[in-house]
Symmetry: C2
Subunit: 460 residues, 2 copies
Amino acid sequence: MVPEEVIKELEAAVGAGNLSTDDAMLYVYGFDVSDVTGKPDIVVRPGTVEEVAGCVKVCAKHKLPVIPRGAGSGATGGAVAPTGGVVVDLTRMNKILELDLANLQVAVQPGVVIDQLNQALKPHKFCYPVIPGSDKMATMGGVIANDASGMRAFKYGTAKDYVLGATFVMPDGSVVPFGCKALKNVAGLDLLRLFAGSEGTLGIMAEFRVKVLPLPPSRGVLVAYFEDLETAGKAVINTYQAGIVPSAVEIMEKSALEVVNKYRPQAGVKVAEAMLLFELEGDLDFVESQARSIGYVLDALAVGDRQFSADPAEAERLWSARSAVGAATSVLEEGHNRVYEGEDICVPLTEIPRTLRKLRELRDKYRLGTVIFGHISIGSLHPAITIRKSDERDWKAMKELAAEIHAWALSVGGTVTGEHGIGVARKEYMAIMHPGAYEVMKRIKRALDPDNIMNPGKIF
Amino acid sequence: MVPEEVIKELEAAVGAGNLSTDDAMLYVYGFDVSDVTGKPDIVVRPGTVEEVAGCVKVCAKHKLPVIPRGAGSGATGGAVAPTGGVVVDLTRMNKILELDLANLQVAVQPGVVIDQLNQALKPHKFCYPVIPGSDKMATMGGVIANDASGMRAFKYGTAKDYVLGATFVMPDGSVVPFGCKALKNVAGLDLLRLFAGSEGTLGIMAEFRVKVLPLPPSRGVLVAYFEDLETAGKAVINTYQAGIVPSAVEIMEKSALEVVNKYRPQAGVKVAEAMLLFELEGDLDFVESQARSIGYVLDALAVGDRQFSADPAEAERLWSARSAVGAATSVLEEGHNRVYEGEDICVPLTEIPRTLRKLRELRDKYRLGTVIFGHISIGSLHPAITIRKSDERDWKAMKELAAEIHAWALSVGGTVTGEHGIGVARKEYMAIMHPGAYEVMKRIKRALDPDNIMNPGKIF
């Protein structure tokens, strides 16, 4: 139980209406997309940078855990409170503060949803190109704190590449501005990129200035099918070697094609060993010429008909097969639900075919529904495992399967997390992945947050 | 004087032939491109990661300054030894260790010169796209330690965006691997991007794995002239707003056109208030169509004839005007030499016209030769000041001019350094640019290098 004194001080910081200790409310804040849970003791909903700082100061004084939270769409337990404490819900801070498009930048509060920003940019023909699958839900604060990315990461990089400035609330509640309005700045250590991706363990970014880009005038989608996984992997490598950098290349393995076919027959996918979707951007001529060039690469590798369109509606239809995978997986089998474990590996490009084969072998070994898809352009694969959550044997098998998936990714020079992060869920891999370097990270954490109040139990 | 014992220990670490205390040799190591000087006590030239670590261990034991050094082409005193100590010259470690092109990456030692890497990649149709003006000289270690960039930074980002992994020698001499072979990895704090750009103040990166990209099949150059600075600035912003992202846009102000005309008449530049060079990349059709699109943008803004070519030799000739500026500035006036102060500001795009005008006013006020050019695509401007280095009045005027240039950049939301870094030369701006954040950087520095032996006096 949190002393009444603390509640009074927090109420003074955010206003009584923006603090809750209601049990039902706290219960809701105990979840994210993963199976990591943890009910906080208090939820506060600050509306300004000063209010965020005020809350953190109270927590620092009483050495209470501070858990920053956006939409709660993370997949690692990063926004839940396994050791209790104060969840700082930033979703009230959802204003786009400035569209400074001539300077290719916008200022936003952390609670702005990615798609909200992109909808505001669209009429001006600009975009924020970091689009994780959760862009209709996820907030800018969460996206940046987790260094999220998504299907266009090969071409556009990840969230941290777009942060030009931020107003940071440090673990002692002090407010520190980072960065400037110039698009390039090498004055000292890059705190922006250290704090972005730190999953709320170093403080709270309470305001951002992010780079935006011109919206490409056209987008086209090219779909091709493959008889085996090797040639699908090879098609990606050969595309790069032909000097072509698509804005996205997605893979759907047979399992993903099957579930989408069942769930959304109108997407019209065929079932093959693998399907690739290439997305191309630019002016229409360029999109078409790039599609032709990829066509030459595919002539030797793909099988059956290929589909291509740069017509917005038709391209959208082709793409709908890919966007349906998540939902299709969730309804794959009555009583089975998707779990977010072993779901976010990233491997070197040449290891993709072997990794896809390995994932199939493991699926057969553990007999758990595992739908395989991912951002093959950058080696990011998302095996989506489904289990009966009430069945202990399923849980046990799933844990073993996830461990084998992670071990495989590491054995081929990859990572256990390409985009979802560490949080609570993958913490055991920090020491394994970072011999020596994990200790360096801990020294930084201790130097900036000596009392370990910022999102304790995540990463560290 | 360094005790004989230390020299013996360092000799044991690198071999007697790779250590020097010869006065003439030490003198040479006391310089870089800037006017900051500082003679080291000892120079060591390790050939392996283990030898680097061995040297750092000896220095840590005796609390001696360690100054990592590549080609010495930096412009801030970052590689010289103002407080003496041991320069670790990494130029012997100049091997490309692995071309792993199917995985879009290479492994290199820190002494590899950028152009050496690009020459090795070219036959395979790949490139390392971080090309500062010094790419024929600068080493990969220096480029990454300073987070260098250059003319293609808007499209391709900066050096730190390409580091996938590194072998780091920490200030205590321990060897710590960072990163992995996957192209995307969000497992914990981003130490790679913290250490890249830290100018050797946190340790020595003794080996790298960096991302490479397909070489674009064609490049074209479009040259246009402007009657005033505002319209030149506007042309860049309008290009972005038309959805076009050139691989480079360079500006040469009247002063730069004049010196190049004098120095290299065969480049055939006309003298106008400003000239812009747009570089376009892709397949030939695309390069030509982009040039046409930029042409439409320019119709309302540029004056006189425009030149465009995608023929390699002719494009190279058009570009030669820009590449001659550095050399032309150095021979501008008998007895005058370029100084690297106030030379590296970066401002928000909308502030470029006002900044160019301000630079002209300041040139008139101080009556010092100041050639103005830069990477306008990203707001990076390089006013190149020349003085009689033996004249105290020139020095004094130059210092005041540089201070006014810096103050201006900060007043419009920019930075005192877009790409050259802080080193010794711009250290006084750290507290000004980073109120609060400089203290955060210092806490990180103290946590990782408590005895302050790593490149002391730089940044901190």
